[in-house]
């Protein structure tokens, strides 16, 4: 009986999807997959990106869609569960037949879906800052690589604030570990002595920062200007900054530059203890350009709440979406190989007043902004790179990746070409 019921259920589902499929086929839409966690720990950050994609699709449809067809979003919820990301990605590409997917936040989730996109030959746009050391044929990375965030931030502290001693503090997982490895190599190359670098890792959601802050204080008492480079993840930041303030460490004495603290994380927090600390991104909500004003206005209208903030991954989603639209229009089809060929070299305006373009390594060019946190939860730019910086997928500062490059244009078409051996495949982990 149970067996029968099951068959019945399956049959009904199949019939329903057939029906739905034929109904939609008449309307001729292009399906766009959205793969962001809407529940679980990452929901805080990722829900916003889902809304951003929906807003972009809405906007595009108002302009008449793409290739004369309307865009149709297909939203799934991978629930902050890494293996589920792969399953949901397969579902989007194989059963829903989406032409492109916008999604993922954590590096683990991205690594988990990579084989799926490769196997089914589809396209993923990844909008979050990450540790680099990867370049995949089917993925476009519109967030910052370390050279678009971490390295310029260190340069700023070194040149503008005269920092000579460095604390690299991070949460214990892949992004901080790789970033700090790159930063350590970079600092040593710049002539910083090993005893002037302190590296510290803490568990996820760490809340007892007493020892670490007092260590930082002691480390900062060597008479050299000290700064903290923080790759501390999301929630653990607030107790960290509170402890700094309580122990009397102010941004004027030991500034903290963070790579994971943006407007969204600051919203609704008591920002008084954070004022003056720094953040490095490629976009701030406070950037004063007509494009950004328009984007914020549209966002507020779409989300129906004037208090909502915009942040860097949203801008990366915006850039990625517009690039995809342009590439599809150039290709005249949404067929994967044709779009992939047309993506490289596509250039669209970003929200900071420049034009971002897609490089042959599937990373984009963006400006790097350093900002100071203000007491209204906004981040005010205090420094920016003079021009745009292209994301460098394989770090030049790590011995295992310094000889690697990636170029997805024919005839090379390789994500990890080793210039020393002249072979594709090199020593790459991926």
């Amino acid at each position: 009986m149970i067996c029968n019921l099951k068959h019945f259920g399956l049959g009904a589902a199949a019939a329903a999807s057939l029906w739905a499929g034929s109904a939609l086929a008449q309307e001729e839409t292009i399906k766009v997959g959205v793969l962001h966690s809407l529940s679980g720990t990452m929901a805080i950050s990722e829900t916003t990106l889902k809304d951003a994609v929906l807003m972009m699709i809405d906007e595009q449809n108002k302009k008449g869609g793409v290739l004369g067809k309307k865009l149709e979003p297909v939203v799934v919820d991978p629930a902050s569960d890494w293996p589920l990301f792969a399953e949901k990605a397969r579902e989007l590409v194989a059963s829903d037949n989406v032409s492109v997917v916008f999604g993922c936040w954590t590096s683990v989730s991205r690594k988990s879906v990579l084989p799926v996109f490769e196997e089914l030959n589809s396209i993923l746009f990844y909008p979050v800052q990450y540790e680099g050391q990867e370049s995949q044929r089917n993925v476009f990375y519109t967030g910052a690589a370390p050279n678009q965030q971490a390295i310029p931030a260190v340069d700023y502290l070194m040149n503008e604030e005269g920092v000579e001693r460095w604390v690299l503090a991070g949460t214990d997982y892949v992004y901080p570990r790789t970033t700090n490895q790159i930063l350590e190599a970079y600092l040593k190359m710049k002539g910083v002595a090993p005893e002037d670098i302190m590296i510290n890792y803490t568990p996820f959601g760490h809340s007892d920062w007493q020892t670490i802050v007092s260590d930082i204080k002691a480390f900062g008492s060597a008479g050299k200007k000290t700064a903290v480079v923080s790759t501390i993840n999301g929630d653990a930041n607030v107790p960290f900054y509170k402890e700094l303030a309580n122990q009397g460490v102010s941004a004027e004495d030991i500034p903290v530059v963070a790579f994971s603290v943006g407007e969204e994380e600051l919203a609704g927090l008591d920002t008084a203890p954070l004022v003056g600390h720094l953040a490095a991104w490629n976009y701030f909500m406070s950037v004063d350009t007509p494009e950004n004003d328009e984007f914020i206005e549209k966002w507020h209208a779409f989300i129906k709440n004037d208090d909502r903030v915009t942040n860097d991954p949203m801008e990366a989603t915006y850039i990625g979406f517009n690039m995809w639209v342009k590439a599809v229009e150039a290709a005249g089809t949404t067929e994967t190989d044709a779009v992939l060929d047309n993506m490289i070299g596509v250039a669209v305006p970003n929200l900071t007043g420049g034009i971002s373009s897609m490089g042959a390594n599937h990373h984009i060019t963006k400006p790097v902004l350093i900002g100071e946190i203000q007491d209204d939860g906004q981040i005010e730019t205090v420094w920016e790179t003079p021009g745009l910086v292209l994301g460098d997928e394989w770090s030049d500062y790590l011995p295992e990746s310094k000889d690697l490059i990636s170029d997805w244009r024919a005839p090379m078409s390789c994500g990890n070409f080793n210039v020393a051996t002249g072979k594709c495949g090199g020593t790459a982990a991926n």
Binding site: D172, S207, Q210, G223, Q247, E252
Partner: protein, 533 residues
């Protein structure tokens, strides 16, 4: 039009540079313009005027309260936010009436500008009538030694009547002398003065002179630093003990409620963490009400929130016992699953009502900052949390040992049929006991809202630790929980500097697993027939 504008700006600039001694009013008007570095120079000029009104102006700038009124470009000070914003004249302090939102633009401040503000205020307040302000000024001067301040410090020292402030000023002067190009002998004397201050501040000042070109100076610096570091090492042990006690008090707070529900009643309550979270959210709501309706009471918000949190979490606890746990006594696995379900429901409810992001719970002024105790710096919030945790523990002990309810509770948990025979309404006692454990979890939430994020996930980070503490201490024994919490806290903090926070946590876990293998009933096992039953 454009040319005219350029000309005016040009003319203005010429005028500005022509007038070498500008009035404070003129300087204040220049604050919003130019790069951060230009404005830092303006701040230094304001400091140099020596005008009494400059301190208020600079303080307002440092606090980010200075704004430009868009209508006329005047610089005003704005206090309060949103509809309660009121403008003041930053120089005279006269009230200018309410300020509409959007009618002013803030004057941005960055770190280098803030440093300039701090230095300028320091210089201005060296001769303030308030001894506390003079001391702060001397400390600022000490932390940022500047040879140009020697003269100002000399005058201040000559006038100073307060011994403590005078010492601080002399130390600041010595630090400034070190930074100047004074002769070696004078510098060696200065090192002696700085060294007497001790602590990390003195190390910061002395460290650069370790390898000084002048041999006697380098030698004196080396000796002084070695001396300070020796003293520091002793204090470091004290520091670790304090950090350990502080971490232990957090563990105790989180676990003591569980010591009742799990330890005494034997119910595996997976929703314990969420009851802590409910307590934290009660604090948040209380603070919101106080902020909007009774802003004057803000410093009392935690004291008001504590009984409320106890009642709210306690009521939810009683409801959980009445509607779920009561039917599952003696069936550990089902209880575990059911209460875990409850924890998910509570989390989702909070997420629905308050949103998934963190909520802001402010620290009352008496819980911010730190106070020095010898070579230790003890933060007020941690200090009060330790006191709060111990107070709750003592209160709970008294309740169990000295009241009728406590007696009944112990009777019911030790021998239910007998207690029932004696006329105790066991079902009611069960509900109240569970409610008590839950209420205490709520109290813990009030304290934890001060040091952790108030988010729907708050409880999850404490549930494992709570069980560890109760199991390690020995279920059913409150003193066991007490000892276990502080042992684990101190052990963790002594390991952390050597092995890092991640490994310290792992080592503690491994240690507890091994310990439980050897002594399954924990540190202080409960003895008697009840255990076998």
């Amino acid at each position: 039009m454009r040319i005219l504008l350029t000309l005016t700006v040009w003319f203005g600039l010429l005028l500005a540079s022509a007038a070498s001694a500008q009035s404070l009013e003129d300087l204040a008007r220049q604050l919003p313009e130019g790069s951060f570095n230009d404005r830092a120079e303006v701040v230094a000029k304001i400091g140099a005027t020596g005008d009494d009104r400059a301190v208020g102006l600079l303080n307002a700038l440092g606090e980010g309260e200075l704004r430009v009124r868009e209508a006329d470009g005047a610089v005003i000070q704005v206090k309060g936010r949103g509809s309660k914003a009121v403008g003041y004249d930053p120089l005279t302090g006269d009230e200018l009436g309410p300020v509409g939102s959007g009618s002013t633009e803030s004057i941005r401040v960055n770190n280098s500008l803030r440093r300039a503000v701090r230095a300028a205020i320091g210089l201005l307040t060296l001769s303030s009538p308030d001894a506390g302000k003079r001391l702060a000024a001397a400390n600022t001067a000490f932390a940022a030694p500047d040879p140009e301040q020697i003269e100002a410090l000399d005058t201040a020292i000559a006038k100073e009547g307060d011994a403590a402030v005078r010492t601080a000023m002399e130390q600041a002067r010595a630090a400034a002398v070190l930074a100047s190009d004074a002769p070696g002998a004078e510098k060696v004397a200065a090192i002696g003065i700085v060294a007497r201050r001790g602590g990390t501040d003195a190390l910061t000042v002395l460290n650069p002179y370790r390898g000084d070109a002048d041999a006697p100076v380098a030698e004196a610096a080396d000796k002084a630093i070695a001396g300070i570091e020796r003293a520091q090492q002793l204090w470091n042990v004290g520091q670790n003990v304090w950090f350990g006690l502080s971490l232990g008090s957090v563990l105790l707070l989180a676990a003591v409620g569980l010591a009742i529900t799990f330890g005494v009643m034997g119910v595996i309550n997976m929703a314990h963490g969420e009851l802590i979270m409910i307590g934290a959210y009660t604090t948040y709501v209380t603070q919101q009400v106080i902020r909007t309706s009774f802003p004057g009471l803000f410093d009392w918000s935690l004291l008001i929130a504590a009984p409320l949190a106890f009642l709210v979490a306690g009521a939810i606890g009683v409801a959980i016992e009445r509607f779920i746990v009561r039917f599952l006594y003696g069936r550990a696995l089902e209880t575990l699953l059911a209460t875990w379900g409850v924890s998910l429901i509570l989390q989702q409810l909070v997420r629905t009502f308050f949103g998934p992001s963190n909520r802001e719970v402010g620290n009352p002024s008496w819980m911010s900052g730190a106070f020095p105790l010898g070579g230790l710096s003890i933060t007020w919030n941690r200090f009060y949390i330790v006191i709060f945790a111990v107070a709750i523990f003592v209160g709970l002990l008294l309740l169990l040992k000295r009241t009728l309810f406590g007696l009944q509770m112990r009777a019911v948990t030790q021998n239910r049929p007998m207690a029932s025979e004696m006329g105790i309404r066991t079902a009611r006692v069960d509900a109240l006991t569970f409610g008590l454990g839950a209420g205490i979890a709520g109290l813990a939430g009030v304290a934890l809202s001060q040091i952790d994020n108030v988010s729907p996930n708050l409880g999850q980070s404490y549930i494992i630790d709570s069980f560890l503490v109760v199991v390690f201490g020995g279920a059913g024994n409150l003193w066991g929980t007490f000892a276990a919490a502080f042992t684990l806290g101190v052990a963790n903090k002594f390991m952390e500097p050597f092995v890092g926070a991640v490994l310290a946590k792992i080592l503690i876990l491994v240690f507890i697993i091994l310990f439980i293998q050897k002594r399954p009933r924990g540190l202080f096992p409960t003895r008697g027939r009840a255990v076998e039953g």
